[in-house]
């Protein structure tokens, strides 16, 4: 080893002089022959002498060509390193470091090997209270009997109200669904072998059927426009890869789901531009705010490629009405941008208001369908987040083609698809399941909101989702983000309940909190309310 190193060092050292020449080369080309000449034009400029040609035109032209050269150089290799200034300088820095190190130490041990800059920023510990709370609650989870002093989880929007229904179905049907036909012969090649990466056709048909059942039977979904992914998370990321390039941006109305910051930005290099909604409008989206955010981004030189909305909204729980959807579509057409509509809570409604899918609007009117993409999944409406099934529904053939190819990075496993195909095809079960779940969510919502109201905490009027958006601005001491996080911290550490502060959702007004109530049993509600009360009173 030492052998090869000592052999290599001498070859590396002469490398430096051979690498360097190009940079002084440009200026020394004139100086090589006549070193005096080089200073003459500069003299002319500095001292104001040297005549017009030597003093102004020649240096002017030289400077201009120099700029031109720099410009060309930069655009010559555009795709090699788009975030050029920062990353290339970082590369240079560690290149020189590692080589100088190996030159110095005779043992030849180089510095620790580095991971990529993007991995470094991803690997950093969680900063958002959303993830900190989730982590703390998972380490010390409340249990009525086993751990009554544990942390109650109100930060995760997971529905556990109807697990009994799913359980009964699985007990009865699991064997049949996996093992297959009536002859009891296991069709192993349907489970074990390679399957289409974007989902089996039977599964797409079943999911499309479930979606129209959930969204009111007026809309029908075309299975060939579906791409299945392992959860809605990769579905969002895949769409983001398909619609925007590095450095482009999406408009996102705030408050928004904290996970978007990871799903939309981490690996894609896309940015999110918050479009603030306010309590005075009931946090409804306004097109003027969108327009303003769009124009500001443009002034900053940012290319906006789309709008990302959640409908029903997460964390507020309100729904976009038809009129808003129309004006959104108009806005998108005017600016020539895309719309991603995250409709993952479409079936988890409990109010009297009716949910309107983007797909329904597109079916009824002659809009440009190519710019609309819908996200769906079975994690919320079928209460099966563990199954990891997400859906991209798009009218755009290019997006579908790209998403199908990208599905190789997030496929759903075949046994899971088999179970779900037969579960979703059992229409009677699904019908009963949807109805029962809605009733149960509603009951929990009413009980939970009433409990909060007793403490003087009002919730925004909502009609969907597994959470409510509670106004605790009266309880925070300084009326700012710091006060909000102090209350959150107290609730988590003293009250032992984990809820999501509005600042984690980029809400512009302090004092709002998202509380998910579907992980609780009905008996837990008084416990939660008591715990909040204890904190509020201190």
């Amino acid at each position: 080893m030492n052998h090869s190193r000592s052999r290599r060092n001498p070859t590396r050292e002469p490398d430096f002089p051979t690498v360097k020449p190009p940079s002084p080369g440009g200026s020394s080309s004139g100086g090589a022959g006549a070193a005096m000449r080089l200073i003459v034009p500069l003299q002319g400029v500095v001292q104001g002498r040297g005549g017009l040609i030597l003093g102004s035109i020649i240096p002017g032209a030289l400077y201009y060509f120099f700029q031109l050269y720099l410009k060309r150089c930069r655009s010559a290799k555009p795709n090699s390193n788009p975030p050029s200034p920062s990353s290339s300088s970082a590369q240079l820095a560690d290149l020189s470091r590692s080589s100088s190190r190996s030159n110095l130490s005779s043992r030849g041990s180089v510095g620790p090997v580095r991971v990529s800059a993007r991995a470094n920023s991803i690997a950093k510990p969680n900063a958002s209270p959303y993830y900190i709370g989730l982590e703390m609650a998972s380490e010390d989870p409340y249990d009525r009997f086993d751990n009554p002093d544990g942390i109650m989880q109100l930060g995760l929007s997971e529905n556990r109200l109807s697990l009994d229904l799913i359980e009964t179905w699985i007990l009865e049907n699991l064997e049949r669904s996996m093992i297959g036909g009536a002859d009891g012969h296991l069709n192993i090649s349907g489970i074990a072998t390679y399957q289409p990466l974007d989902g089996m056709m039977e599964m797409k048909i079943a999911v499309a059927g479930f979606m129209s059942q959930v969204m009111g039977t007026t809309v029908s979904f075309d299975p060939s426009r579906l791409v299945l992914t392992s959860g809605a998370t990769p579905a969002i990321e895949t769409l983001c890869f398909c619609l925007a390039d590095q450095g482009n941006a999406f408009l996102v109305p705030t408050p928004y789901y904290p996970g978007f910051d990871r799903d939309m930005k981490w690996r894609t290099g896309v940015e999110l531009i918050p479009v603030h909604c306010r309590s005075s409008d009931n946090f409804a989206l306004s097109v003027t705010a969108l327009d303003q955010a769009f124009n500001q981004a443009r002034k900053r030189g940012q290319k906006v490629r789309g709008i990302l909305i959640s409908n029903p909204s997460n964390p507020i729980g309100n729904m976009l009405n038809k009129e808003t959807l129309y004006s959104l579509l108009d806005f998108a057409r005017e600016k020539n941008i895309h719309i991603i509509s995250d409709e993952i809570f479409a079936g988890s409604t409990y109010g009297s208001e009716e949910f309107v899918s983007m797909a329904e609007i597109l079916e009824s009117e002659d809009f440009d369908k190519n710019r609309v993409h819908i996200i769906y999944g079975l994690s919320k409406d079928l209460s099966l987040p563990g199954f990891r099934v997400g859906v991209i529904y798009s009218f755009n053939t290019s997006v579908l083609a790209a998403a199908k190819k990208l599905a190789r990075f997030s496929s759903v496993s075949a046994p899971t698809q088999r179970i779900l195909i037969s579960m979703l095809s059992d229409t009677r079960f699904i019908q009963r399941y949807i109805e029962t779940t809605r009733e149960r969510i509603k009951k929990m919502y009413v009980a939970f909101a009433a409990g909060l109201k007793q403490l003087g905490i009002e919730c925004t009027k909502s009609s969907a989702g597994l959470y409510c958006w509670a106004d605790m601005s009266g309880l925070i001491r300084p009326y700012n983000e710091k006060g909000e996080l102090e209350l959150w911290d107290k609730l988590l550490k003293i009250g032992k309940i984990n809820i999501t502060p509005g600042s984690a959702c980029h809400c512009i007004e302090p004092g709002w909190f998202r509380c998910c109530f579907t992980m609780l049993a009905e008996e837990d509600i008084p416990v939660v309310i008591k715990r909040i009360q204890r904190v509020v009173e201190t």
Binding site: M1, R8, R118, A119, R262, R388
Partner: protein, 505 residues
């Protein structure tokens, strides 16, 4: 009038020095500066051009037509290139087979699949086990007995895999890799297949514009997995038939220097061991020189060991994990990719593994596993399958025997046709030398033969050019999707084509 004056001065050479030269020169310079600034803000320059033209178009359209319909919404440049990227013969062949698959009884004229590295030799074992235990294993959350735990499969689980599954997979890995090494479950991140495992490592080890050294011939999908979304580049390191396609350090060194000269920052080496498509194993010596090389250049090593248990020769498989076990210095730079698709014959289950000792990589990979997690019912199923030590032992042994038998038969069949294979001892495939059958010794000749095999003989093999092999005439043939009876059919079909190839000579 005034506006034209400076231009007049320039064009006609009049107008004095200030008006005729200095002012236009300065104006032009400022204009260029303005353009430059404008261009460097949004990142890739070619895009901005299309954007500009598009914007104009949509605006003028809205002004023109009262209906206000604008230009079609365009997708991102990267999506466009993914859509347009022409499929290599590897993918073309796979598609052909899926449209018209051979079946001994129902479609005897169909295309026979020799292009997909999938093992169907031991499916019967997996089927028997599943038929017996599938239901209980899912319902009991992977434990051998116990009450139904709905919460264990329906609810949100850790996105990087259940701890029980990590323990089970770690046990399986050391069983497969001959017990000499133990794997630490806390250094495992599980993903939905080895494909995302490779992509996540590529994201974690390299930034956009960085590069990996990859010895050729390599698995055709690396071009997708390592490059597509990450923006990372592959520098091929050619291996030659004269060296039995073994990796040489001098070739690596040369490729590294070339990459450096091109201004590419090399962040690592990606190797497959057992190699795909050749099927040979890296010996201990080569592994140590590789690690030395990586240390000297301060780069990473990704070792793709997905075929570790599918060996059929007498040669010993040596895992990179031995390095992690023994050499303190280099732990952080070695990362292993594994999966259950090959050694457990369960590609449909989509279970992939990242094994690393680098804390940063593990932390980032765990967070990135949110984009490709395995569904809980499948995890439970696999936990109880892998925990059934007796079944696994029998499975590995039987599978190796069957693999060996098929390999021997298939290679012997090819030899009768005068086609020699590289000596190999791992994988589901052999690397066949058909240089004698191609008309022009070039990539064109190779693809002509591939085309004939696919369309006349109706067998799908992967041409070496899809694997970036530098020498034409080599083909990758997977024999584990066949039954033993199929071998004679395949040989008969190849013979027909090879005769037409030889006749004109």
């Amino acid at each position: 009038m005034r506006v034209i004056v400076p231009l007049q001065g320039v064009v006609q050479g009049r107008g004095g020095l200030v008006l005729g030269s200095v002012i236009p020169c300065a104006l032009f310079y400022l204009l260029q500066l303005y353009f430059k600034r404008h261009r460097s803000e949004p990142t890739p320059p070619p895009q901005t051009l299309t954007e500009v033209s598009e914007l104009n178009r949509s605006l003028s359209r809205t002004h023109l037509s009262p209906r206000g319909s604008s230009a079609p919404a365009c997708v991102s440049t990267r999506a466009n290139s993914i859509v347009k990227s022409s499929d290599s013969p590897f993918y073309v062949g796979l598609k052909r087979v899926s449209e018209d698959p051979y079946d001994e009884l129902s479609n005897p004229e169909g295309v026979i699949q020799l292009g997909l590295a999938e093992n169907k030799l031991s499916l019967d074992l997996a089927r028997d086990w599943l038929a017996e235990t599938a239901k209980d294993s899912i319902l009991s959350g992977g434990g051998s007995s116990g009450p139904l735990s709905m919460a264990g499969i329906a609810n949100y689980q850790a996105s990087d895999g259940l701890v029980e599954l990590k323990v089970a997979v770690a046990g399986f890995m050391s069983q497969v890799m001959e017990r000499s090494i133990s794997f630490n479950p806390s250094q495992i991140v599980l993903t939905a297949g080895a494909t995302p495992a490779i992509e996540i490592l590529s994201f974690c080890l390299a930034d956009t514009g960085n590069a990996f050294l990859v010895p050729t011939p390599y698995y055709p999908s690396f071009d997708r997995d390592l490059k597509w979304r990450t923006g990372v580049e592959i520098i091929p390191v050619p291996c030659r038939s004269a060296d039995n396609f073994n990796l040489s350090i001098s070739a690596l060194d040369l490729a590294f220097d070339q990459g450096k000269k091109r201004g590419l920052k090399v962040r690592g080496i990606v190797i497959s061991n057992p190699s795909n498509p050749v099927g040979n194993l890296l010996n201990r010596e080569t592994i140590y020189t590789l690690v030395d090389f990586a240390r000297e250049k301060n780069i990473h090593i990704i070792s793709n060991e997905i075929f570790a248990g599918s060996t059929h020769g007498s040669e010993e498989f040596v895992s990179m994990a031995e390095i992690i076990d023994s050499e303190d210095l280099d732990r952080d730079r070695v990362h292993i990719v594994y999966g259950l698709s090959k050694d457990l014959c369960l590609p449909g289950f989509k279970v992939g593994v990242i094994y690393s000792s680098n804390e940063n990589v593990l932390a980032a990979a765990k967070k990135l596993s949110r984009f490709s997690s395995i569904s809980a019912p499948t995890q439970c199923l696999v936990i109880s399958m892998l925990s059934d030590i007796r079944f696994i032992q029998k499975f590995i042994q039987t599978n190796r025997e069957r693999l060996q038998r098929m390999y021997t038969k298939f290679v012997a069949g090819l030899k009768q046709l005068g086609i020699e294979c590289m000596r190999s001892s791992g994988g589901f495939y052999c690397w066949a030398d058909m240089r004698g059958l191609i008309r022009s010794y070039s990539e064109k000749g190779e693809l002509e033969l591939w085309n004939k095999l696919l369309n006349i003989a109706k067998i799908n093999v992967t041409p070496g050019s899809s694997c970036h092999c530098i020498e034409p005439g080599w083909f990758h043939c997977c024999f584990t999707t066949l039954t033993e009876q199929d071998i004679s059919v395949v040989m008969e079909r190849i013979r027909k084509v090879s005769e037409t190839c030889k006749s004109p000579r």
